[in-house]
Amino acid sequence: MHLKLQEKVSVVSIFNHKSNKVTPYQIKWQNRNYTTKEVGLHHTIHIGKVLHHIYSISDGNTFFRLNLNTENLHWTLEEVWDESSDQ
């Protein structure tokens, strides 16, 4: 299953003061919690003047692309790639 979407999601994030990194630790999507196993890539983009942090994360079975808008601090789920549902 591959979905492109623009859906607000609840995210628990962690700031590690030693590595100076923020990681989305857990996301709640469609009444299910997914815990991050790996942050594949973290990059930033500008939409106009607003800085957005893009996290490409995976819980081992499902891939999520999350967007943190730094103007309002809202998290948006932009992409889901789930192969367990194809089997």
Binding site: E38, G40, H43, G48, S56, S58
Partner: protein, 399 residues
């Protein structure tokens, strides 16, 4: 030193999405069957899939291949991180394209450095600072040409050095077409003059290359290049700004086509103005599905190109004058004869219009591209998408 990221776009996608790792994937212009493959992953290359395959061909060779559309913003960010790492070793870094760069160590202050060690460190840093899937080839030699040749010897993840000791052995194992810069036409030209191997090319004299084979200074450049003398350290300034677009939905509807053309002109115009330049010439090209094409350029002595709709008006006229209702598959539009924006020259331009263009640019800078646009561009969200041109990174801001 030449550093070349392996299967750049595909490796970045594999880094972002762990589910793609170790699997054949390809980045294509679109995910539709006729779209062109831009970057196959290392695993896809093992199936024989190459750049230029159609998505349909790739899927025939490898039915399980995952086809992805390009994420240009992501690739630009990784490119900047890549260049930033290289800049830690020398201030003279020249990005050659989105996935390759030259690091110049010719400064005498850098002569004591162990370049092999630096090459290994760059490979390690790419993996730890960007991601484990990001591999590169490093080539080290006395000039750019040989460094690029060295970087292509053992793909992927190679590190090779060409010196006077192994130069001839390297040529021995290559064909003329393996030489960067020798295409089929040049190969034929060399063959006609009795040169069939890189070693014969290397052993040819300057008069033969200059007067008989290439009939120009190019012959001497090849003579020097093949010996590891630098001939390619020329920084070409930007001469034009253009946008080429292979239509997602081929069309013969003039109104639909003019909307796409307007959007392309807006992209070119935005880039022209953000580089603080004006243009005095435009270029337009249109290719049809019957493989015919039309292209024309026009220069202006007394007027300037600044606003996107000026560019559009000229491009649309060139298009309209020859359009007979055939189905269009590709548009290219650009401007040339660039010069720095000069307030006096801008006076030639309607002041009210100038203010309007600047105000629109300001709004788009603040809120994002195409927030404000001309009415003609309505419903063109999926057309004339942002693309990375191979070999063009001159407009990239590294600050």
């Amino acid at each position: 030193m030449h550093v070349d990221l392996n299967s750049c776009f595909a490796s970045i996608e594999q880094q972002a999405n762990p589910l793609f790792r170790g699997r054949p994937i390809a980045i294509a212009a679109y995910t539709t069957p006729n779209a062109c493959v831009l970057a196959p992953s290392i695993e896809a290359k093992r199936f024989g899939i190459k750049v230029g395959f159609s998505v349909r061909e790739a899927q025939q060779v490898c039915p399980n291949i995952i086809i992805l559309a390009p994420d240009t913003e992501k690739y630009r960010v990784i490119h900047k991180q890549f260049i930033k790492i290289l800049m830690d070793y020398s201030s003279a870094v020249t990005p050659k394209s989105i996935d390759e760069a030259i690091v110049d160590f010719s400064d005498p202050a850098l002569h004591t450095l162990d370049l092999e060690l630096i090459g290994k460190e760059i490979k390690h840093r790419l993996k730890t600072e960007i991601g484990q899937s990001i591999l590169c080839n490093v080539g080290i030699a006395t000039n750019r040409f040989l460094a690029k040749t060295a970087a292509g010897l053992h793909k992927p993840d190679g590190l090779d050095i060409i010196t006077h000791k192994n130069l001839l052995d390297t040529y021995q194992n290559m064909t003329l077409l393996d030489i960067c810069g020798i295409n089929l036409r040049y190969e034929r030209r060399l063959n006609i003059n009795g040169i069939y191997t890189p070693l014969q090319f290397f052993n040819s004299s300057i008069p033969k290359l200059q007067k008989q084979v290439f009939k120009s200074i190019v012959g001497y450049h090849w003579y020097a290049r093949l010996r590891g003398w630098e001939t390619d350290n020329i920084d070409f300034s930007q001469k034009s700004i253009s946008h080429e677009y292979s239509l997602h939905k081929k069309s013969h509807d003039f109104y639909e086509l003019s909307k796409i053309l307007m959007k392309m002109c807006e992209r070119v115009g935005r880039r022209l103005r953000s580089s603080n330049q004006i243009a005095k010439g435009i270029y337009f090209r249109c290719a049809y599905t019957d493989n015919n094409e039309f292209h024309q350029s026009k220069t202006f002595a007394n007027s300037i190109i600044y606003a996107s709709d000026d560019l559009y008006k000229h491009a649309e006229k060139l298009f309209k004058d020859q359009f007979t209702g055939k189905t269009v598959r590709l548009f290219a539009v650009g401007c040339f004869n660039l010069s720095p924006e000069d307030p006096e020259q801008l006076e030639l331009f309607n002041p009210k219009k100038q203010q309007l263009v600047k105000a629109m640019d300001k709004i788009n800078d603040r809120y994002g591209e195409f927030i404000v646009s001309t009415a003609r561009m309505l419903d063109t969200n999926s057309e004339a998408l942002d693309r990375i041109a191979f070999g063009k990174v001159k407009e990239m801001d590294y600050n």
